[in-house]
């Protein structure tokens, strides 16, 4: 059953067409790898699916509803978790505070939010000490893990990840992919934008996109 669907989606920036007439269906319980050359519109596609921007033409459908008709803040805080390429964590906060803030924004009420946040961060391999460090005191890889934990914190239906393993070593990449596969097994839809053949290999489906000019060729 598709949780997210692209229906003839096109996107232009000023006069330049970035995505042209793209259709695709994403199902629950699967890990998708979105691949393509640099500039092919992978990150733009992620922005369209997260509601950060709207398509010039076509529709992004989430659970049978046009994303254009859904409150974007609610969409991002309740249904879709986004892992940005540059993590986009709040640097004045600690790892724990970043995760908990995400839970606060989404309105998630666990029995103990702090304990749940610690559990998520521990699952990402952060130590207790690292959890209470400010973001700038963490390495790139650690920040990546915090960003993943944050995206998972409110138990979204879809996780959109832009190069989530880009700063991680091979072993950790596999760990992260295991986590994603575990989440997919729990019924989540994981969509990963990646250049990594390893990630593509470990994914259930690979969606390859190319820039319109290449397509025309």
């Amino acid at each position: 059953m598709s949780v997210m669907k692209l229906e003839n989606v096109s996107f232009s920036y000023e006069t330049q067409k970035i995505i042209d007439d793209l259709s695709y269906e994403f199902e629950k319980g699967k890990v998708y790898a979105v691949t393509g050359r640099s500039g092919a519109g992978k990150t733009t596609l992620l922005s369209l699916m997260s509601g950060l921007t709207s398509p010039s033409d076509g529709k992004v459908i989430f659970n049978e509803k046009d994303v254009a008709d859904i409150d974007k803040c609610e969409f991002r805080s309740r249904w879709v978790g986004v892992i940005f390429q540059n993590y986009n964590l709040l640097t004045t906060l600690t790892a724990m505070e970043n995760v908990m803030l995400s839970m606060d924004i989404s309105g998630v009420k666990m029995e103990d939010n702090a304990a749940y946040a610690r559990h998520l961060l521990a699952r990402m391999g952060l130590t207790e000490d690292e959890m209470d460090r400010r973001i700038l005191k963490l390495s790139g890889g650690q920040q990546q893990r915090v960003a993943i934990a944050r995206a998972m914190s409110f138990d979204p239906d879809v996780i959109l990840a832009d190069e989530p393993t880009g700063n991680l070593d091979m072993e950790t990449q596999e760990d992260i992919m295991d986590i994603f596969k575990g989440l997919a097994d729990q019924g989540k839809c994981i969509i990963i934008v990646t250049h990594s053949p390893k990630v593509a290999e470990l994914s259930d489906e690979v969606m390859s996109i190319q820039a319109p000019e290449y397509k025309r060729q």
């Binding site: 922005s47 950060l52 803040c73 969409f75 805080s77 986004v82 390429q85 540059n86 986009n88």
Partner: protein
Amino acid sequence: MYIIRNALRNISRSKGRSILIGIIILVVVLSATISLSIRQAAVTAKEEGLSKLNVTANITLDRETMMKSSGSSGTFDKDSFKKAMQSSGLSLTELQKYAKADSVKGFYYTLSSSVDGSGLDAVESNQPSGGPGGNSSDSSDFTLIGYSSDDAMTSFTNGNAKITSGSMFDEGTDENVCVISKELAKYNDISVGDTIKIKNPDSSKKTAKLKVVGIYKTTASTNGSSAVMSGGMFGGDTANQILTSYTAAKAVNSSMSVDGSLQGTYTFSSVSNYNKFEDQAHDLGLASKYTVESSDINQFEQSLQPLNNLSKYALWFLMIVLAIGVVILVVINIFSIRERKYEVGVLSAMGMKKRKIAAQFLAETLAVTLIAIIIGTAAGAVSSVPITNKLLTSSAVTSTDSFDRGGPGGSQPSSSAAATASSDSSVQSTSSSSGSSSSSDSSSSSSGITKDKAGRGPIGNYISSISSATDMKVVFEVLILGLLLSLAASAVAVNYIMRYDPLRILSERD
């Protein structure tokens, strides 16, 4: 809830910014507290003063109206005006009629006459003739003042004058008895029991004798500048006033063929009653050319002048500080929001609604404002009284100095100092045939008296100190101002937040 938690966390983590904003708001709040406290002190001083003031008033001629009505077709006819003035005296019967008005608490009157001494020398005075309240055309040596009752002798009732030898004449006595000042007694070697002889200034054959039953001493200035007694319309030195009962004065005047000046004084229990009196007197038949005046209120308001001026300047100062404060805070907020643009983008990308982001930024400013208000109001409350008193003292001295230099002949402005809130003063204006001058008799309170630099005594009875200034009203006003200030400063930030596009911010960051 998390918005407030986040806001507080951001304040504690961005100490430099928070302290900078806090200091600016603190300065504004401190200025606002002091300024509003000064204003409140002025309002309170006026309200309390007026409620405690024993208001007295007199019926006087409205010369402006009379001048307008003198002559025809807009031209002023001096002769007609003079004639009208001379025939405008109110009789005792008329004055008593208006005393029946509901608003009047009490009524007394005096009869003042200019007389010369016969074998009696006037105490030399350095008072220039013709000063305010004086009458340059009158060169009589003495003023005979007859009082209708003991209440009319306000200098004695309020303790400014007291009998030092002999006794006061009986109230309403028809015997030719009088009390004189210690200076006059000493100057002429008069003792209690002696008889003095006075005469009509225009006819030395018309004389009268008065037995001195008492000698009084006054605490008021004896250099001729302060007419402690009522009826100083002749501008005479207080030392040369001969005091007796109204009945006796009338009889003496009659025997010497001297016209006296009748002065009626109405007392009121409150300012509101005084305000009602004029209408009531007109209803009782008082002609429209007369008006009711109270020197007490005028003098009391004059005593508040430095405080009112200070209040006015303080409010201007507050407005300037507020304007500067708003501008600085807006600029800081603009820089701050631009600096925190990325944070806005991330929060928005995480699904936080923009209005909640704006609320968080507002909460940060409000929290800093609240802390600044608490510290600023407390500091303002503590410092407002000494600051106000310091400013008042210098302001009162300035006012007194300028007051001293002003006025015809460079003399003191009035025979009495301005009344203070606690003063038990009476003001008497003439309603006699001359109808031209008023004099006052006031006592000064122990507080709020400003002496001139030469220490000559109270020449300006300005309020020069306050005991409390910051009350709940001021605190409330400061709170409102502080909130408005932070709202105004945050409005810019909110405007920026509402316009930001998260994707664009994050892309720019990338």
